[in-house]
Protein backbone atom coordinates (compact mmCIF):
# COMPACT_ATOMS: atom_id res chain seq x y z
CA UNK A 1 0.00 0.00 0.00
CA UNK A 2 1.46 3.34 -0.94
CA UNK A 3 1.48 6.33 1.39
CA UNK A 4 -0.35 9.51 0.58
CA UNK A 5 1.82 12.09 2.29
CA UNK A 6 5.56 12.08 1.95
CA UNK A 7 8.20 14.62 1.03
CA UNK A 8 10.86 14.54 -1.67
CA UNK A 9 13.70 13.81 0.77
CA UNK A 10 11.83 10.75 2.02
CA UNK A 11 11.25 9.64 -1.57
CA UNK A 12 14.99 10.00 -2.26
CA UNK A 13 16.04 7.97 0.78
CA UNK A 14 13.47 5.26 0.10
CA UNK A 15 14.38 5.05 -3.61
CA UNK A 16 18.07 4.71 -2.65
CA UNK A 17 17.35 2.05 -0.05
CA UNK A 18 15.49 -0.06 -2.62
CA UNK A 19 18.65 -0.32 -4.74
CA UNK A 20 20.42 -2.30 -2.01
CA UNK A 21 19.84 -6.02 -2.22
CA UNK A 22 19.59 -8.34 0.76
CA UNK A 23 22.96 -9.81 1.68
CA UNK A 24 24.98 -7.15 -0.18
CA UNK A 25 28.17 -5.93 1.50
CA UNK A 26 27.79 -2.19 1.62
CA UNK A 27 30.46 0.40 2.52
CA UNK A 28 28.45 3.28 3.93
CA UNK A 29 29.19 7.00 4.07
CA UNK A 30 27.68 9.12 6.82
CA UNK A 31 24.48 11.14 6.27
CA UNK A 32 21.99 10.24 3.53
CA UNK A 33 23.80 7.02 2.47
CA UNK A 34 23.79 5.78 6.08
CA UNK A 35 20.08 6.62 6.44
CA UNK A 36 19.16 4.79 3.23
CA UNK A 37 21.35 1.77 4.02
CA UNK A 38 19.84 1.36 7.48
CA UNK A 39 16.35 1.76 6.06
CA UNK A 40 17.13 -1.10 3.67
CA UNK A 41 18.35 -3.19 6.62
CA UNK A 42 15.15 -2.50 8.54
CA UNK A 43 12.83 -3.26 5.60
CA UNK A 44 13.61 -5.52 2.63
CA UNK A 45 17.29 -6.33 3.30
CA UNK A 46 17.69 -7.64 6.87
CA UNK A 47 20.92 -9.48 5.99
CA UNK A 48 22.68 -6.52 4.39
CA UNK A 49 26.22 -6.10 5.76
CA UNK A 50 27.00 -2.50 6.62
CA UNK A 51 30.66 -1.47 6.86
CA UNK A 52 31.66 1.94 8.22
CA UNK A 53 35.17 3.26 7.61
CA UNK A 54 35.85 3.70 11.34
CA UNK A 55 35.98 -0.10 11.69
CA UNK A 56 32.56 -1.70 12.35
CA UNK A 57 31.63 -4.58 10.02
CA UNK A 58 28.03 -5.81 10.06
CA UNK A 59 26.88 -2.70 11.93
CA UNK A 60 23.26 -2.68 13.14
CA UNK A 61 22.83 0.71 14.79
CA UNK A 62 19.66 1.26 16.81
CA UNK A 63 19.77 4.96 15.86
CA UNK A 64 21.59 6.65 12.99
CA UNK A 65 25.15 7.62 13.86
CA UNK A 66 25.89 11.34 14.02
CA UNK A 67 29.55 10.67 13.37
CA UNK A 68 31.20 7.84 11.48
CA UNK A 69 32.54 6.37 14.72
CA UNK A 70 29.61 6.46 17.14
CA UNK A 71 29.75 3.85 19.92
CA UNK A 72 26.46 2.28 18.85
CA UNK A 73 28.08 1.23 15.57
CA UNK A 74 30.76 -0.73 17.42
CA UNK A 75 28.43 -2.06 20.12
CA UNK A 76 26.11 -3.82 17.70
CA UNK A 77 28.52 -4.85 14.91
CA UNK A 78 29.59 -8.39 13.98
CA UNK A 79 33.17 -7.28 14.51
CA UNK A 80 35.18 -4.08 14.83
CA UNK A 81 38.55 -3.85 13.12
CA UNK A 82 41.12 -1.06 12.83
CA UNK A 83 40.80 1.57 10.12
CA UNK A 84 43.86 0.32 8.17
CA UNK A 85 42.32 -3.15 8.17
CA UNK A 86 38.98 -1.83 6.84
CA UNK A 87 40.72 -0.22 3.89
CA UNK A 88 43.37 -2.88 3.24
CA UNK A 89 41.64 -6.22 3.75
CA UNK A 90 37.98 -5.46 3.31
CA UNK A 91 37.74 -2.66 0.72
CA UNK A 92 40.94 -3.13 -1.31
CA UNK A 93 40.64 -6.87 -0.70
CA UNK A 94 37.60 -6.80 -2.97
CA UNK A 95 34.93 -7.73 -0.43
CA UNK A 96 32.67 -4.68 -0.85
CA UNK A 97 29.75 -4.98 -3.28
CA UNK A 98 28.44 -1.41 -3.05
CA UNK A 99 30.09 1.82 -2.00
CA UNK A 100 27.31 4.16 -0.94
CA UNK A 101 28.39 7.81 -1.10
CA UNK A 102 27.27 11.41 -1.05
CA UNK A 103 28.92 14.35 -2.85
CA UNK A 104 29.06 18.13 -2.86
CA UNK A 105 29.35 18.28 -6.65
CA UNK A 106 29.03 15.70 -9.40
CA UNK A 107 29.35 15.96 -13.17
CA UNK A 108 27.68 14.16 -16.09
CA UNK A 109 30.02 11.19 -15.71
CA UNK A 110 29.36 10.93 -11.95
CA UNK A 111 32.82 12.10 -10.97
CA UNK A 112 32.77 13.50 -7.42
CA UNK A 113 34.04 16.69 -5.79
CA UNK A 114 34.24 16.87 -1.99
CA UNK A 115 37.39 19.03 -1.82
CA UNK A 116 36.90 22.70 -2.74
CA UNK A 117 34.59 25.16 -4.45
CA UNK A 118 36.73 27.60 -6.43
CA UNK A 119 40.47 27.44 -6.97
CA UNK A 120 42.32 24.77 -4.98
CA UNK A 121 44.94 27.19 -3.66
CA UNK A 122 42.47 29.98 -2.87
CA UNK A 123 39.10 28.27 -2.47
CA UNK A 124 35.89 30.21 -1.97
CA UNK A 125 34.66 27.24 0.07
CA UNK A 126 36.91 24.68 1.64
CA UNK A 127 34.96 21.39 1.85
CA UNK A 128 35.88 18.57 4.28
CA UNK A 129 37.92 16.67 1.68
CA UNK A 130 38.26 13.12 0.41
CA UNK A 131 37.63 10.91 3.44
CA UNK A 132 37.53 7.36 2.17
CA UNK A 133 35.80 8.23 -1.10
CA UNK A 134 38.77 7.96 -3.54
CA UNK A 135 39.50 4.43 -2.33
CA UNK A 136 35.82 3.43 -2.23
CA UNK A 137 35.26 4.84 -5.74
CA UNK A 138 38.26 2.81 -6.92
CA UNK A 139 37.71 -0.52 -5.19
CA UNK A 140 34.01 -1.11 -4.39
CA UNK A 141 32.50 -3.39 -7.04
CA UNK A 142 29.83 -0.73 -7.67
CA UNK A 143 29.05 2.76 -6.37
CA UNK A 144 25.67 4.33 -5.64
CA UNK A 145 25.47 8.07 -5.06
CA UNK A 146 22.71 9.82 -3.18
CA UNK A 147 22.36 13.60 -3.01
CA UNK A 148 19.84 16.36 -3.50
CA UNK A 149 19.63 17.67 -7.02
CA UNK A 150 20.40 21.30 -7.81
CA UNK A 151 22.28 23.19 -10.50
CA UNK A 152 24.92 24.03 -7.85
CA UNK A 153 25.61 20.36 -7.18
CA UNK A 154 25.10 18.92 -10.68
CA UNK A 155 27.67 20.94 -12.59
CA UNK A 156 29.05 21.01 -16.11
CA UNK A 157 32.60 21.05 -14.80
CA UNK A 158 33.73 20.08 -11.32
CA UNK A 159 35.85 22.59 -9.42
CA UNK A 160 37.94 19.61 -8.32
CA UNK A 161 37.84 15.91 -9.15
CA UNK A 162 38.26 14.15 -5.80
CA UNK A 163 36.95 10.66 -6.55
CA UNK A 164 36.62 9.21 -9.99
CA UNK A 165 33.33 8.10 -11.51
CA UNK A 166 33.34 7.40 -15.25
CA UNK A 167 36.06 10.03 -15.85
CA UNK A 168 35.54 11.31 -19.45
CA UNK A 169 32.94 8.71 -20.32
CA UNK A 170 33.15 5.80 -22.77
CA UNK A 171 35.87 3.37 -21.76
CA UNK A 172 38.02 6.03 -20.04
CA UNK A 173 37.43 4.58 -16.56
CA UNK A 174 38.18 1.08 -17.78
CA UNK A 175 41.53 2.29 -19.12
CA UNK A 176 42.50 3.45 -15.61
CA UNK A 177 42.60 -0.21 -14.61
CA UNK A 178 40.62 0.22 -11.40
CA UNK A 179 38.98 -2.93 -10.04
CA UNK A 180 35.51 -1.45 -9.39
CA UNK A 181 32.86 -0.73 -12.03
CA UNK A 182 32.23 2.81 -10.72
CA UNK A 183 28.86 4.50 -10.21
CA UNK A 184 25.85 2.45 -11.27
CA UNK A 185 23.17 4.87 -10.07
CA UNK A 186 22.66 8.41 -8.78
CA UNK A 187 19.57 8.85 -6.62
CA UNK A 188 18.23 12.35 -6.01
CA UNK A 189 15.08 13.94 -4.64
CA UNK A 190 13.80 14.23 -8.21
CA UNK A 191 14.87 11.11 -10.05
CA UNK A 192 17.23 8.18 -10.56
CA UNK A 193 20.00 8.40 -13.16
CA UNK A 194 22.12 5.60 -14.49
CA UNK A 195 25.18 5.76 -16.72
CA UNK A 196 24.42 5.12 -20.39
CA UNK A 197 25.67 1.72 -21.49
CA UNK A 198 28.18 3.09 -24.02
CA UNK A 199 28.79 6.79 -23.33
CA UNK A 200 28.62 6.31 -19.51
CA UNK A 201 26.83 9.67 -19.34
CA UNK A 202 24.21 9.94 -16.59
CA UNK A 203 20.77 9.33 -18.04
CA UNK A 204 17.47 9.74 -16.22
CA UNK A 205 15.78 6.34 -16.07
CA UNK A 206 13.19 7.01 -13.41
CA UNK A 207 11.28 10.12 -12.28
CA UNK A 208 9.77 10.31 -8.82
CA UNK A 209 5.96 10.75 -8.82
CA UNK A 210 4.88 14.25 -9.85
CA UNK A 211 8.35 15.35 -11.01
CA UNK A 212 8.61 16.79 -14.53
CA UNK A 213 11.50 16.61 -17.00
CA UNK A 214 11.71 20.42 -16.86
CA UNK A 215 12.24 20.31 -13.11
CA UNK A 216 15.11 17.88 -13.52
CA UNK A 217 16.68 19.98 -16.29
CA UNK A 218 16.40 23.12 -14.18
CA UNK A 219 18.27 21.41 -11.35
CA UNK A 220 21.06 20.17 -13.62
CA UNK A 221 24.00 22.24 -14.93
CA UNK A 222 24.23 20.42 -18.24
CA UNK A 223 21.75 19.26 -20.87
CA UNK A 224 20.45 16.17 -19.12
CA UNK A 225 19.60 13.08 -21.15
CA UNK A 226 16.54 10.92 -20.59
CA UNK A 227 16.33 7.22 -21.32
CA UNK A 228 14.03 6.03 -24.12
CA UNK A 229 11.66 4.69 -21.52
CA UNK A 230 11.51 6.72 -18.33
CA UNK A 231 9.69 4.96 -15.53
CA UNK A 232 7.89 6.51 -12.59
CA UNK A 233 9.22 5.59 -9.15
CA UNK A 234 6.89 3.57 -6.99
CA UNK A 235 5.79 5.95 -4.21
CA UNK A 236 6.86 5.09 -0.64
CA UNK A 237 4.81 2.35 0.94
CA UNK A 238 3.17 2.91 4.32
CA UNK A 239 5.70 0.55 5.86
CA UNK A 240 8.79 2.17 4.31
CA UNK A 241 7.63 5.57 5.45
CA UNK A 242 6.80 4.41 8.96
CA UNK A 243 10.13 2.64 9.42
CA UNK A 244 12.04 5.66 8.08
CA UNK A 245 10.17 8.15 10.26
CA UNK A 246 10.55 5.98 13.37
CA UNK A 247 14.29 5.69 12.68
CA UNK A 248 14.70 9.46 12.27
CA UNK A 249 12.55 10.12 15.34
CA UNK A 250 14.53 7.89 17.71
CA UNK A 251 17.77 9.20 16.18
CA UNK A 252 16.80 12.79 16.97
CA UNK A 253 15.84 11.86 20.52
CA UNK A 254 19.07 9.94 21.08
CA UNK A 255 21.23 12.81 19.82
CA UNK A 256 19.44 15.40 21.88
CA UNK A 257 17.85 17.11 18.91
CA UNK A 258 14.26 18.17 18.61
CA UNK A 259 12.45 15.54 16.55
CA UNK A 260 10.71 16.78 13.44
CA UNK A 261 7.04 17.39 13.87
Amino acid sequence: MSAANYNTTEMMIIAASRLLTNGAVCFVGIGLPSTAANLARLTHAPDIVLIYESGPIGAKPEVLPLSIGDGDLAERADTVVSTPEIFRYWLQGGRVDVGFLGAAQIDRFANINTTVIGDYKKPTTRLPGAGGAPEIASCAKAVVLVLKQSARAFVKKLDFLTSVGHLDGGDSRKKLGLPGAGPVAVVTDLCIMKPHEVSRELTVTQLHPGVTREQVQKATGWEIRFAEIVQESVPPTENELKVLRDLLHRTALAHGQAPAA
Binding site: I30, E53, S54, G55, P56, P65, L66, S67, I68, G69, D70, G71, L73, A74, V80, S82, T83, P84, I86, F87, R88, L91, Q92, N111, T115, Y120, K122, P123, T124, T125, R126, P128, G129, A130, G131, G132, A133, P134, E135, S138, C139, F160, L161, T162, S163, V164, L167, R173, L176, G177, L178, P179, H255, G256, Q257
Partner: protein, 287 residues
Protein backbone atom coordinates in the same frame (compact mmCIF):
# COMPACT_ATOMS: atom_id res chain seq x y z
CA UNK B 1 59.27 2.27 29.99
CA UNK B 2 56.58 4.92 30.14
CA UNK B 3 56.73 7.41 32.96
CA UNK B 4 53.42 7.95 34.71
CA UNK B 5 53.35 11.73 34.94
CA UNK B 6 51.00 14.69 34.84
CA UNK B 7 49.75 15.79 31.42
CA UNK B 8 51.48 19.16 31.90
CA UNK B 9 54.86 17.45 32.37
CA UNK B 10 54.29 15.06 29.47
CA UNK B 11 53.48 17.85 27.01
CA UNK B 12 56.34 20.01 28.34
CA UNK B 13 58.84 17.18 27.94
CA UNK B 14 57.72 15.63 24.68
CA UNK B 15 55.96 18.20 22.46
CA UNK B 16 58.24 20.92 21.14
CA UNK B 17 57.70 23.89 18.84
CA UNK B 18 58.02 22.75 15.23
CA UNK B 19 57.28 19.07 15.95
CA UNK B 20 55.18 16.82 13.74
CA UNK B 21 52.37 15.74 16.06
CA UNK B 22 49.72 13.07 15.40
CA UNK B 23 46.74 13.16 17.78
CA UNK B 24 44.63 10.23 16.69
CA UNK B 25 41.25 8.77 17.58
CA UNK B 26 38.63 8.07 14.93
CA UNK B 27 35.72 10.03 16.48
CA UNK B 28 36.25 7.79 19.55
CA UNK B 29 38.89 8.41 22.29
CA UNK B 30 39.98 11.76 20.85
CA UNK B 31 42.73 13.17 23.10
CA UNK B 32 41.05 16.54 23.77
CA UNK B 33 42.72 17.10 27.15
CA UNK B 34 46.15 16.73 25.57
CA UNK B 35 45.18 19.07 22.72
CA UNK B 36 44.10 21.70 25.26
CA UNK B 37 47.39 21.36 27.13
CA UNK B 38 49.31 21.99 23.89
CA UNK B 39 47.28 25.21 23.46
CA UNK B 40 47.82 26.13 27.13
CA UNK B 41 51.58 25.74 26.75
CA UNK B 42 51.42 27.84 23.56
CA UNK B 43 53.24 25.47 21.26
CA UNK B 44 53.71 26.82 17.75
CA UNK B 45 54.75 25.88 14.21
CA UNK B 46 53.44 22.34 14.68
CA UNK B 47 52.80 20.05 11.75
CA UNK B 48 49.51 18.48 12.76
CA UNK B 49 48.73 15.03 11.37
CA UNK B 50 45.32 13.43 11.75
CA UNK B 51 42.96 11.45 9.52
CA UNK B 52 39.90 13.36 10.73
CA UNK B 53 40.89 16.77 12.08
CA UNK B 54 37.67 17.58 13.84
CA UNK B 55 37.03 19.99 16.72
CA UNK B 56 40.34 19.23 18.47
CA UNK B 57 42.42 20.47 15.53
CA UNK B 58 39.99 23.33 14.86
CA UNK B 59 40.92 24.55 18.37
CA UNK B 60 44.67 24.10 17.81
CA UNK B 61 44.58 25.78 14.37
CA UNK B 62 42.49 28.72 15.58
CA UNK B 63 44.76 29.13 18.60
CA UNK B 64 47.73 29.56 16.27
CA UNK B 65 49.63 26.35 17.11
CA UNK B 66 49.83 24.93 13.58
CA UNK B 67 51.98 25.65 10.54
CA UNK B 68 50.87 22.66 8.48
CA UNK B 69 48.04 20.12 8.45
CA UNK B 70 48.26 16.61 6.98
CA UNK B 71 44.77 15.08 6.85
CA UNK B 72 42.14 13.15 4.91
CA UNK B 73 38.78 14.55 6.11
CA UNK B 74 38.34 17.87 7.92
CA UNK B 75 34.85 18.51 9.21
CA UNK B 76 32.75 18.68 12.37
CA UNK B 77 31.24 15.17 12.23
CA UNK B 78 27.48 15.26 11.94
CA UNK B 79 27.42 19.07 12.10
CA UNK B 80 29.26 20.68 9.18
CA UNK B 81 32.36 22.76 8.56
CA UNK B 82 35.34 23.39 10.80
CA UNK B 83 35.23 27.18 10.76
CA UNK B 84 38.73 27.75 12.16
CA UNK B 85 40.26 25.34 9.62
CA UNK B 86 38.33 27.04 6.84
CA UNK B 87 39.32 30.52 8.02
CA UNK B 88 42.99 29.47 8.04
CA UNK B 89 42.80 27.92 4.55
CA UNK B 90 40.53 30.53 2.97
CA UNK B 91 41.76 33.72 4.73
CA UNK B 92 45.12 32.88 6.36
CA UNK B 93 43.76 33.55 9.87
CA UNK B 94 45.37 33.55 12.41
CA UNK B 95 48.22 32.58 10.07
CA UNK B 96 48.64 30.75 6.78
CA UNK B 97 48.16 27.00 7.06
CA UNK B 98 49.91 24.72 4.62
CA UNK B 99 47.75 21.71 3.85
CA UNK B 100 48.62 18.27 2.55
CA UNK B 101 45.57 16.17 1.91
CA UNK B 102 45.09 12.48 1.33
CA UNK B 103 42.30 9.88 1.45
CA UNK B 104 41.57 7.69 4.47
CA UNK B 105 42.88 4.49 2.89
CA UNK B 106 46.05 6.33 1.92
CA UNK B 107 46.72 7.89 5.35
CA UNK B 108 45.89 4.74 7.29
CA UNK B 109 48.32 2.83 5.04
CA UNK B 110 50.95 5.54 5.60
CA UNK B 111 50.70 5.00 9.37
CA UNK B 112 51.04 1.23 8.89
CA UNK B 113 54.18 1.64 6.80
CA UNK B 114 55.54 4.13 9.34
CA UNK B 115 55.01 1.59 12.11
CA UNK B 116 56.61 -1.02 9.83
CA UNK B 117 59.73 1.15 9.36
CA UNK B 118 59.24 1.24 5.59
CA UNK B 119 59.72 4.37 3.47
CA UNK B 120 56.34 4.35 1.76
CA UNK B 121 52.90 2.76 1.54
CA UNK B 122 51.32 1.37 -1.59
CA UNK B 123 47.63 1.22 -2.48
CA UNK B 124 45.20 0.98 -5.35
CA UNK B 125 43.59 4.40 -5.66
CA UNK B 126 43.77 7.90 -7.15
CA UNK B 127 43.77 6.94 -10.84
CA UNK B 128 41.65 9.72 -12.35
CA UNK B 129 41.63 11.86 -9.19
CA UNK B 130 43.06 15.40 -9.10
CA UNK B 131 44.49 14.99 -5.60
CA UNK B 132 47.91 13.80 -6.89
CA UNK B 133 48.20 17.04 -8.95
CA UNK B 134 48.11 19.09 -5.76
CA UNK B 135 49.93 16.76 -3.41
CA UNK B 136 53.45 15.81 -4.48
CA UNK B 137 53.37 13.14 -1.77
CA UNK B 138 50.92 11.07 -3.80
CA UNK B 139 52.83 9.43 -6.64
CA UNK B 140 52.50 6.38 -8.84
CA UNK B 141 54.81 3.39 -9.10
CA UNK B 142 54.91 0.27 -11.23
CA UNK B 143 54.60 -3.05 -9.47
CA UNK B 144 57.90 -4.89 -10.14
CA UNK B 145 56.05 -8.19 -10.44
CA UNK B 146 52.90 -7.45 -12.42
CA UNK B 147 53.56 -4.05 -13.99
CA UNK B 148 50.35 -2.66 -12.46
CA UNK B 149 50.38 1.07 -11.69
CA UNK B 150 49.77 1.70 -7.99
CA UNK B 151 49.67 4.80 -5.80
CA UNK B 152 52.48 5.37 -3.30
CA UNK B 153 52.62 7.74 -0.34
CA UNK B 154 55.47 8.38 2.09
CA UNK B 155 55.22 6.81 5.53
CA UNK B 156 54.07 8.92 8.42
CA UNK B 157 56.72 9.14 11.12
CA UNK B 158 55.51 11.73 13.64
CA UNK B 159 57.84 13.16 16.27
CA UNK B 160 55.05 12.59 18.76
CA UNK B 161 51.85 10.55 18.76
CA UNK B 162 49.17 11.41 21.31
CA UNK B 163 46.20 9.15 22.03
CA UNK B 164 43.62 8.59 24.75
CA UNK B 165 42.82 5.08 26.07
CA UNK B 166 40.58 3.46 28.64
CA UNK B 167 43.11 1.90 31.04
CA UNK B 168 46.73 1.68 32.06
CA UNK B 169 48.30 -0.49 34.74
CA UNK B 170 50.82 0.84 37.24
CA UNK B 171 53.72 -0.05 34.96
CA UNK B 172 52.22 2.04 32.17
CA UNK B 173 50.94 -0.76 29.91
CA UNK B 174 47.88 0.58 28.08
CA UNK B 175 44.64 -1.13 27.02
CA UNK B 176 42.11 0.31 24.60
CA UNK B 177 39.02 -1.12 22.90
CA UNK B 178 36.03 -0.19 20.75
CA UNK B 179 36.66 1.77 17.57
CA UNK B 180 40.45 1.85 17.38
CA UNK B 181 41.07 3.86 14.21
CA UNK B 182 44.82 4.17 13.67
CA UNK B 183 45.89 4.74 17.29
CA UNK B 184 48.12 1.68 17.58
CA UNK B 185 49.78 2.42 14.24
CA UNK B 186 50.28 6.11 15.14
CA UNK B 187 51.99 5.18 18.41
CA UNK B 188 54.27 2.61 16.77
CA UNK B 189 55.11 4.98 13.88
CA UNK B 190 56.09 7.86 16.17
CA UNK B 191 59.42 8.65 17.79
CA UNK B 192 57.67 9.08 21.12
CA UNK B 193 54.13 8.64 22.35
CA UNK B 194 51.93 10.12 25.07
CA UNK B 195 48.80 8.32 26.25
CA UNK B 196 46.14 9.81 28.50
CA UNK B 197 43.90 7.24 30.21
CA UNK B 198 40.56 7.11 31.99
CA UNK B 199 41.92 5.08 34.89
CA UNK B 200 45.02 3.40 36.25
CA UNK B 201 44.42 -0.09 37.61
CA UNK B 202 46.39 -2.88 39.24
CA UNK B 203 45.67 -5.37 36.50
CA UNK B 204 44.48 -4.74 32.93
CA UNK B 205 42.85 -8.19 32.72
CA UNK B 206 43.28 -7.95 28.96
CA UNK B 207 42.17 -10.99 26.97
CA UNK B 208 44.58 -12.41 24.39
CA UNK B 209 44.57 -10.36 21.14
CA UNK B 210 43.33 -7.27 22.95
CA UNK B 211 44.85 -3.98 21.81
CA UNK B 212 47.59 -3.47 24.40
CA UNK B 213 50.42 -0.99 23.96
CA UNK B 214 53.27 -2.16 26.18
CA UNK B 215 54.76 0.42 28.48
CA UNK B 216 58.13 0.23 26.71
CA UNK B 217 56.56 1.58 23.47
CA UNK B 218 55.42 4.76 25.24
CA UNK B 219 57.15 7.84 26.64
CA UNK B 220 54.46 8.97 29.05
CA UNK B 221 51.15 7.83 30.49
CA UNK B 222 48.91 10.42 32.16
CA UNK B 223 45.83 9.84 34.27
CA UNK B 224 43.17 12.20 32.85
CA UNK B 225 39.61 10.99 33.54
CA UNK B 226 37.22 12.35 30.91
CA UNK B 227 40.22 13.31 28.76
CA UNK B 228 38.45 12.42 25.53
CA UNK B 229 35.43 14.66 26.17
CA UNK B 230 33.45 15.88 24.21
CA UNK B 231 34.23 12.73 22.18
CA UNK B 232 33.51 9.46 23.96
CA UNK B 233 35.29 6.65 25.75
CA UNK B 234 33.62 3.30 25.12
CA UNK B 235 32.47 1.87 28.43
CA UNK B 236 32.93 5.19 30.29
CA UNK B 237 30.90 8.01 28.76
CA UNK B 238 28.98 8.96 25.60
CA UNK B 239 29.78 11.52 22.95
CA UNK B 240 28.58 15.00 23.91
CA UNK B 241 26.74 15.74 20.68
CA UNK B 242 25.44 19.03 22.05
CA UNK B 243 28.98 20.35 22.37
CA UNK B 244 29.79 19.47 18.75
CA UNK B 245 26.67 21.39 17.71
CA UNK B 246 27.53 24.31 19.99
CA UNK B 247 31.06 24.41 18.55
CA UNK B 248 29.58 25.46 15.22
CA UNK B 249 28.44 28.74 16.81
CA UNK B 250 31.49 29.25 19.03
CA UNK B 251 33.95 28.75 16.18
CA UNK B 252 32.11 30.67 13.48
CA UNK B 253 33.27 34.08 14.67
CA UNK B 254 36.92 34.90 15.43
CA UNK B 255 36.24 36.96 18.54
CA UNK B 256 33.76 34.47 20.02
CA UNK B 257 36.29 31.73 19.40
CA UNK B 258 39.15 33.71 20.99
CA UNK B 259 37.20 34.53 24.11
CA UNK B 260 36.08 30.90 24.44
CA UNK B 261 39.69 29.69 24.20
CA UNK B 262 40.85 32.34 26.64
CA UNK B 263 38.19 31.60 29.24
CA UNK B 264 38.08 27.82 28.96
CA UNK B 265 41.63 26.82 28.08
CA UNK B 266 44.21 29.59 28.57
CA UNK B 267 42.73 30.76 31.87
CA UNK B 268 42.26 27.28 33.34
CA UNK B 269 45.00 25.35 35.04
CA UNK B 270 44.26 21.90 33.67
CA UNK B 271 41.58 19.69 32.12
CA UNK B 272 39.62 19.25 35.32
CA UNK B 273 39.47 23.03 35.79
CA UNK B 274 38.43 23.30 32.13
CA UNK B 275 35.57 20.87 32.69
CA UNK B 276 34.38 22.87 35.68
CA UNK B 277 34.32 26.13 33.71
CA UNK B 278 32.66 24.35 30.79
CA UNK B 279 29.90 23.08 33.07
CA UNK B 280 29.30 26.60 34.34
CA UNK B 281 29.19 27.95 30.79
CA UNK B 282 26.73 25.21 29.83
CA UNK B 283 24.47 26.32 32.66
CA UNK B 284 24.55 29.84 31.28
CA UNK B 285 23.83 28.30 27.87
CA UNK B 286 27.10 29.66 26.53
CA UNK B 287 28.64 26.17 26.45
Amino acid sequence: MAEIVSLQSAIRAHVHDGDAVAMEGFTHLIPFAAGHEVIRQRRKDLTLIRMTPDVIYDQLIGAGCARKLIFSWGGNPGVGSLHRLRDAVEKDWPQPLEIEEHGHGDLSNAYVSGASNLPFAVLRAYAGSELPKHNKNIRFIECPFTGETLAAVPSIRPDVAVIHAQKADRKGNVLLWGILGVQKEAVLAAKRAIVTVEEIVDNLNAPPNACVLPSWTLAAVCHVPGGARPSYAHGYYDRDNRFYQAWDEISRDRQTFLSWIKKHILATEDFSAFQKVLRESAKEQLV
